[in-house]
């Protein structure tokens, strides 16, 4: 009991100290935070309009009832699951160059999950009734409804990805050795859990017999493969930024290893995509209609066609950039490849996945869905909110990891301050 009270006191003290970290920074830091806050504020204003008047303010209809919000949600769950790519080599294969940056990767996963949850929340027609989904307080349809599973696993994953880094950071702050018996089970659990969140998200599309575009058993493997491409790619970019603005040393070797793993994941993604395309085009049943809408245009409607072909080209180019060691080990081509993959997978897994599921609808109607300004602004607002959360988390994590911010230095500084105050008096 005493130990528990002690831990609580330490955690509270740590939290208060990090607040001082967060509000102090360079001019660039303030500018970045205020820029993100402005975007969040604009997004919030648009969301209030949607909340007031109803979802009629978006471009979604009875025919295409899920749009940009759920597209972004699918993509972000994949990004969050990609933290597992760093955890596996670090803890299981003890690949040292990655070990130091695992905490940052998990914080990134936490911010992704926050964004994914926010996207679901803005998509709900009646956010005031969200409590209906809370188990035991509301009436959750578990285990039959995959959305109920999704709520549970996403929140559990968020909890894991906040618990592990924060626990480790607190221990680093107090210069104490983490109790591995306590934290290691959580770390090991987060690996299958990461696979789990994306599988559950895939299953929520997969089990719908009404939508032949999604009713394919290949969906869960494809989701995981494309997640393992996009998440690490964005992390390579982020780590280079962190490397530049702080003292954290991230070896190039770590980045190149991640890129190599992305190459394999992209190969699997392309292979699974080709399998789907072969099956649907060779058998040529009525299920070909959504694929035709996506890749060729259906009955004259071809809004998504340039997007998907751009995404295919980007994925293919990025695959070769990562496969060939020469281009992989050069930072310019590596970064190009990363940007191409981030955008390519977003198109393929976001709008290029959610929208063709609804075209043509079960009664054969084609409605061309294009997000409108309100949806775009709310989406930008949520992305900005996620980046803000990540910035604040990293602003705390980096000084602790580099050792600049620790309890020892706090005690020293307080002691020195008191001495000086005494001297004044």
């Amino acid at each position: 009991m005493e130990k528990f009270r002690e831990t609580l006191k330490e955690t509270w003290h740590f939290y208060r100290r990090t607040l001082s970290l967060v509000v102090r920074g360079s001019k660039a830091y303030y500018a970045w935070c205020f820029f993100l806050l402005a975007i969040v504020f604009v997004g919030l204003l648009f969301y209030l309009k949607q909340h007031d008047l109803g979802l009629v303010e978006t471009n979604m209809t009875d025919q295409v009832s899920w749009g940009l919000y759920i597209a972004n949600f699918t993509y972000l769950v994949g990004m969050a699951a990609a933290a597992v790519l760093l955890v596996i080599p670090s803890y299981i294969y003890s690949f040292k160059p990655i070990k130091e940056i695992v905490v940052l990767g998990e914080l990134f996963a936490a911010s992704s999950i926050v964004m994914a949850i926010l996207f679901v929340m803005v998509d709900l027609g009646r956010l005031d009734r969200f409590w209906h989904m809370i188990p035991f307080i509301g009436l959750m349809n578990f285990p039959k409804s995959l959305l109920a599973w999704d709520v549970l696993v996403l929140n559990g994953y968020l909890f894991l990805n906040l618990l592990i880094p924060i626990y480790l950071l607190i221990k680093f702050y107090y210069h104490k050795e983490p109790n591995w018996n306590f934290i290691l089970p959580f770390i090991l659990a987060s690996v299958p859990w990461a696979v789990g969140i994306h599988t559950v998200t895939a299953f929520l599309y997969n089990g719908l017999a009404a939508r032949p575009f999604w009713d394919a058993s290949i969906l869960a493997p494809r989701f995981l493969a494309s997640a393992l491409c996009s998440g690490p790619a964005i992390m390579i970019i982020i780590f280079q930024i962190i490397r530049r603005i702080s003292d954290i040393k991230i070896e190039d070797r770590a980045l190149f290893k991640i890129a190599e793993l992305i190459a394999y994941a992209m190969f699997i993604n392309l292979f699974l995509l080709s399998s789907e395309i072969y099956q649907v085009y060779y058998s040529n049943t009525s299920h070909i209609a959504p694929f035709k809408y996506l890749f060729q245009g259906l009955h004259g409607h071809n809004q998504l066609v340039p997007w998907i072909w751009a995404a295919m080209a980007m994925n293919l180019i990025a695959f070769f950039l990562f496969l060939v060691p020469g281009t992989r080990k050069r930072l310019t081509t590596l970064n190009t490849g990363c940007f191409l993959i981030i955008i390519g997978v977003w198109i393929e897994k976001g709008p290029g996945f959610v929208i063709p599921g609804f075209v043509p609808d079960p009664l054969g109607e084609i409605y061309v869905y294009v997000p409108n300004l309100l949806e775009l602004m709310v989406s930008f607002g949520i992305w900005a909110a996620g980046l803000l959360v990540f910035t604040l988390l990293v602003k705390v994590a980096i000084p602790i990891e580099t050792g600049k911010f620790s309890h020892v230095s706090y005690i020293e500084r307080t002691f020195r301050r008191e001495e000086e105050d005494q001297a004044w008096k």
């Binding site: 607040l19 001082s20 509000v23 919030l44 209030l48 909340h51 007031d52 008047l53 109803g54 979802l55 009629v56 979604m60 209809t61 009875d62 025919q63 009832s65 899920w66 679901v120 998509d123 709900l124 027609g125 009646r126 956010l127 005031d128 009734r129 969200f130 209906h132 989904m133 509301g138 009436l139 959750m140 349809n141 039959k144 409804s145 995959l146 959305l147 109920a148 709520v151 929520l204 089990g207 719908l208 017999a209 009404a210 939508r211 009525s286 209609a289 599921g357 609804f358 043509p360 609808d361 079960p362 009664l363 054969g364 109607e365 301050r417 000086e420 105050d421 004044w424």
Partner: protein, 304 residues
């Protein structure tokens, strides 16, 4: 040193005050955009979990609210399923002429929103002769001067009230369920508007109230059922209920009565003397998308 201390404290205080104000402003703006009705209904329980007294209380609240809003006295029934019933529907495809009288009779009977958004629970498809099962070539917006048109057949589709409904399986909050008499219903006050059921329905039976419904007051139907045609609110899913307010009292649904060619039939599948059993026993019936194993209770048939 004192100055630095003051500066440090005041900056911390300033930022703390700023963030608290921001948080308050954030939550206030979200909360204030909730209407009074939403605030009243916030803690309302799921219909199936309510005790009879709670149901009475909710009905009284709704009746008072509708009176305030529309100036008309509503009778809201919560009549339960009749024993030994399983409602089935029959539609004679050889006789449908695609006149859409059923669509608008349904809209009128069930207090559907007329415009901004327009909610129609029945959709009539026009198919070219020679084509029946592949609905990809259907036309929804046909508007000829007269029907039926030569070379075409008409197929009305609405909620099929499946025995194994995919929408009930996927709803995360049990807002939709299958009643003992086979009707798939929605508790409009429990639905969170996630639209997963709409993605799951193979027949596009469910529609969404994208905004607050617009019903002309003079066309309101005041005898309603809580799970059926009471005026709904924005961002809840609704669908055909086989006119639950009528059939539980033994009346034909509105679409059956409106059809000028007598295409639509209705009855109790468990009653061997009902019209629908007569049809299933003697006519060649089929159901849409039977291979999806949803076991719909909407039987289409042709003459003999």
């Amino acid at each position: 040193m004192q100055n630095q201390n003051n500066k440090r404290y005041s900056r911390r205080e300033f930022l703390r005050n700023l963030s608290l104000t921001a948080l308050a402003g954030f939550s206030l703006s979200i909360l204030s955009s909730c209407s009074k009705e939403e605030a009243e209904d916030f803690l309302q329980k799921h219909f199936r979990e309510m005790t009879p007294e709670e149901k009475k209380h909710v009905i009284a609240k709704l009746e008072e609210r509708y009176y305030r809003k529309y100036g008309k006295k509503f009778e809201i029934s919560t009549k339960e399923a009749l024993p030994n019933t399983l409602w089935g529907y029959g539609l004679e495809l050889s006789r449908c002429i695609g006149c859409r009288r059923c669509v608008y009779a349904c809209v009128k009977e069930n207090n559907n929103s007329r415009y901004k958004p327009q909610l129609q629970w029945i959709r009539v498809l026009r198919l070219k002769r020679g084509n029946l099962i592949n609905l990809e070539n259907s036309e929804h917006y046909y508007d000829p001067p007269q029907v039926p048109e030569k070379g075409f057949i008409y197929l009305p589709v609405q909620c099929q009230h499946c025995e194994d409904p995919p929408c009930v399986k996927v709803c995360p909050v049990h807002a939709t369920w299958k009643e003992p008499d086979g009707l798939v219903v929605v508790d409009y006050n429990w639905c969170i508007g996630c639209r997963y059921c709409m993605a799951a329905c193979p027949y596009k039976g469910r529609v969404f109230n994208w905004a607050e419904p617009n019903i002309p007051t003079e066309e309101l139907n005041t005898s309603v059922h809580y799970l059926g045609n009471r005026p709904r609110m924005k961002c809840a899913v609704d669908k055909c209920t086989f006119c639950i307010q009528r059939v539980r009292n033994g009346r034909y649904p509105a679409c059956v009565e409106a059809c000028p060619t007598g295409t639509r039939k209705f009855g109790n599948l468990l009653d061997p003397n009902s019209e629908i059993r007569y049809i299933i026993d003697r006519k060649r019936v089929f159901r849409l998308k039977e291979d999806l194993n949803t076991e719909p209770k909407f039987y289409y048939f042709f003459e003999a």
